[in-house]
């Protein structure tokens, strides 16, 4: 009876998601406490603070009515993001390989694109009063900003998100398709099976290059420093997230940690050939990869200022060329 329950694919997927989710809540804390704080020679927060205590605190906070032209959609966006990330994880589990339409690179790319589009919508729909720029004419003697138009900082975030969708995250998608050149299939089941026979794609020349590209894309899609231009933190406020409070902010925080883990799992599947499932010790590899990525991201972000377009464009161009190189080498 108990064995039957465990072998039920739905139960297996739920248990895997649960384990992955619990581990993901520690990742933001590990990044802040053991990487950033260590590098910056400070104590840092307790490890459960950013990923567990912060969302719990937000859940019990009183909510505010958001300033948005479409408040319903705006409030739904973090939940959509979470569901999208969840779908990516489900697609990665071996149980999903029986549904080729779900467990394929096309669906993974589609889900990630939806997640990215959510940022555009968040930015476009957030109209925080704190982000209003120049609501009145600058009347000071000698003013040089007369007749300025009313605008919102979040609009800029939306435009930046759009830019990031069009070319910013391109390297990540190139890296996702690099393993296809070896496995000659876009289905995750085939990619995993190929690597279990021929060894991890990571340990090939094309795989090594693609892994570097994937890592940069991982930082870009997570909006981590130095690629955090979407969050617009340098612009004093946090862009698209500005209006989220209480439980909606909690979902934003939880989704970020979960996304960190899921992207690590994507790498494990595509570059090592180890899918996340609690019925295999391979899940330890998934966890290790997620941790390594978080630590590496923490190190890189601690030593880099936020990029503006001047730095972003050359970085993305160079990474894209690397991604193309990986694919070309993989095809040869």
């Amino acid at each position: 009876m108990f064995e039957n329950i465990l072998t039920n694919p739905v139960i297996a997927v739920i248990l895997t998601i649960l384990v992955c989710f619990i581990i993901s809540t520690f990742l933001p804390g590990i990044e802040r406490k053991y990487v950033h704080a260590r590098i910056q020679q400070r104590i840092g927060p307790i490890v459960i603070a950013p990923g567990i205590m912060a969302p719990l605190k937000f859940i019990f906070k009183e909510n505010i009515e958001v300033s948005s032209p479409v408040p319903g959609l705006y409030k739904a966006l973090p939940i959509i993001c979470f569901i999208v990330v969840l779908c990516v994880l489900i697609a990665l589990t071996p149980e999903a390989y029986k549904i080729p339409a779900l467990a394929s690179l096309v669906s993974i790319v589609g889900f990630l694109k939806v997640e990215e589009i959510c940022y555009v919508l968040m930015g476009a729909l957030s109209k925080s009063i704190m982000s209003v720029r120049m609501p009145f004419p600058d009347k000071i003697k000698g003013a040089v900003h007369n007749n300025s138009n009313l605008s919102f900082i979040e609009d800029i975030s939306a435009r930046r998100s759009l830019r990031m969708i069009t070319y910013g995250s391109f390297p990540l998608y190139l890296a996702l398709f690099a393993p296809v050149t070896a496995a000659r299939s876009i289905f995750l089941g085939d990619i995993v099976a190929y690597q279990q026979t021929h060894g991890p794609f990571l340990f090939t020349i094309a795989g090594g290059i693609a892994a570097v590209v994937f890592f940069i894309g991982y930082m870009i899609i997570l909006n981590e420093y130095p690629f955090s231009i979407i969050k617009a933190k340098s612009d004093v406020i946090e862009g698209p997230y500005m209006e989220y409070a209480a439980k909606y902010r909690a979902v934003v925080v939880i989704t970020r940690g979960f996304f960190m883990f899921v992207l690590g799992a994507v790498f494990s599947v595509l570059f090592i050939g180890v899918p996340p499932t609690i019925f295999s010790w391979g899940i330890l590899i998934n966890i290790a990869v997620a941790l390594i990525f978080v630590v590496m991201m923490g190190i890189f972000s601690a030593f880099a200022p936020v990029f503006t377009n001047r730095q972003l464009l050359p970085t993305i161009l160079a990474t894209t060329l690397l991604g193309i190189l990986a694919i070309v080498i993989g095809l040869l």
Binding site: H36, I39, Q40, Q41, R42, D138, G142, A143, V144, H145, I153, I156, Y225, P226, S228, I229, A232, K233, S234, D235, V236, A302, F303, A304, P305, V306, F307, T308, N309, R310, Q311
Partner: protein
């Protein structure tokens, strides 16, 4: 300020700003001393210079750390804050507080701010440590090509514009104008230091400017430690008289600080104080032009505005 006894008024000026509190009480006392012809003891002059330069160090380090923080480079920011911590502890050692030290009084400095051998030794050791730490930071900072790419050519304030706006202090010197009131202040007559200038007037020039000026401040403090005269720290031998309006300009961390008032029966009349931020804040809107919104905060920080120094400003409309 108006109508307060001058001693109380001096103490009150310190509350104008939390960053350059020492500068305010120093210049306020200096104003009365100039008007009343009070001779300050040589030892007190040295201690005032030490306090002034320590305050410059903590202001410049705050600028550097804040600049790095606005760049979202938390690691650099934290490193500068650690260096600044050495200075804050030294200020607390001399003044008793990390801010609002109450060091200067009419005729010198408070006796509790006198420097004994142990304090001088700690100052000397900490200045060496600070110099080493700052050297390491500056080398690392300048070698970081990404940081340099982020700050070069951003927030440019042309020299002509800076002069027109009467910008002062390091923000002016970063545009290439070698104007530093310390070269004309009698307190600095016995000290050897260079007036640092940069040419571009951008964020990079301003950050480098502060870093290089910090080395000069360390140099001045080291000279003061080595040559501090013996003797009293305060001259109580003076008499209160009525004066016309007295004016005093000094070079504080962010530029020229102006204090002026008249004395009437020992009370302050017609008091005017102009902080450097009042002059520098106008440069912000010019520094921002042509840059992206992400750089706006950087351009504002570049002009080194102190909002506590400006939030009590009054506009005089001449009809």
């Amino acid at each position: 300020m108006e109508g307060l006894p001058v001693e109380k008024a001096n103490a009150l000026t310190e509350k104008i700003c939390g960053i350059c509190s020492n500068s305010h009480i120093w210049n306020s006392c200096r104003t009365a001393e100039l008007g009343l012809g009070i001779e300050i003891t040589p030892r007190a002059l040295y201690i005032r210079v030490i306090m002034g330069e320590l305050e410059r160090l903590h202001s410049h380090f705050l600028y550097l750390a804040h600049g790095c923080e606005v760049l979202s480079h938390e690691t650099f920011s934290m490193r500068v804050f650690y260096l600044r911590e050495i200075v804050m502890e030294l200020l607390a050692m001399i003044g008793g507080n990390r801010v609002q030290y109450g060091c200067s009084v009419l005729g010198g400095v408070r006796p509790r701010c006198d420097l004994d051998e142990a304090k001088l030794l700690r100052l000397k050791n900490d200045m060496n440590a600070l110099e080493e730490g700052l050297n390491g930071f500056v080398e690392r900072f300048l070698a970081d090509s990404i940081v340099m790419s982020r700050i070069s050519g951003i927030g440019v304030l042309p020299q002509k514009q800076a002069i027109e706006l009467a910008v002062t202090g390091p923000t002016l010197r970063a545009t290439g104008v070698a104007r530093d009131l310390r070269t004309t202040m009698f307190e600095y007559d016995e000290f050897d230091f260079n007036v640092i200038t940069q040419n571009d007037g951008d964020v990079k020039s301003n950050l480098i400017m502060r870093a290089l000026e910090s080395f000069e401040s360390i140099k001045i403090i080291k000279q003061a430690i080595a040559n501090i005269p013996e003797g009293k720290v305060v001259n109580r031998d003076w008499e209160m008289v009525d004066t016309d309006i007295i004016e005093s300009y000094i070079e504080v961390p962010r530029g020229t600080l102006y204090h002026s008032y008249a004395l009437e029966s020992g009370r302050v009349r017609h008091c005017i104080i102009r902080t450097p931020s009042m002059a520098n804040i106008g440069a912000m809107q010019y520094a921002c032009i042509g840059d992206q919104i992400t750089d706006a905060q950087l351009c504002i920080v570049q002009c080194d505005p102190c909002f506590t120094c400006t939030d009590r400003a009054i506009e005089i409309i001449r009809r």
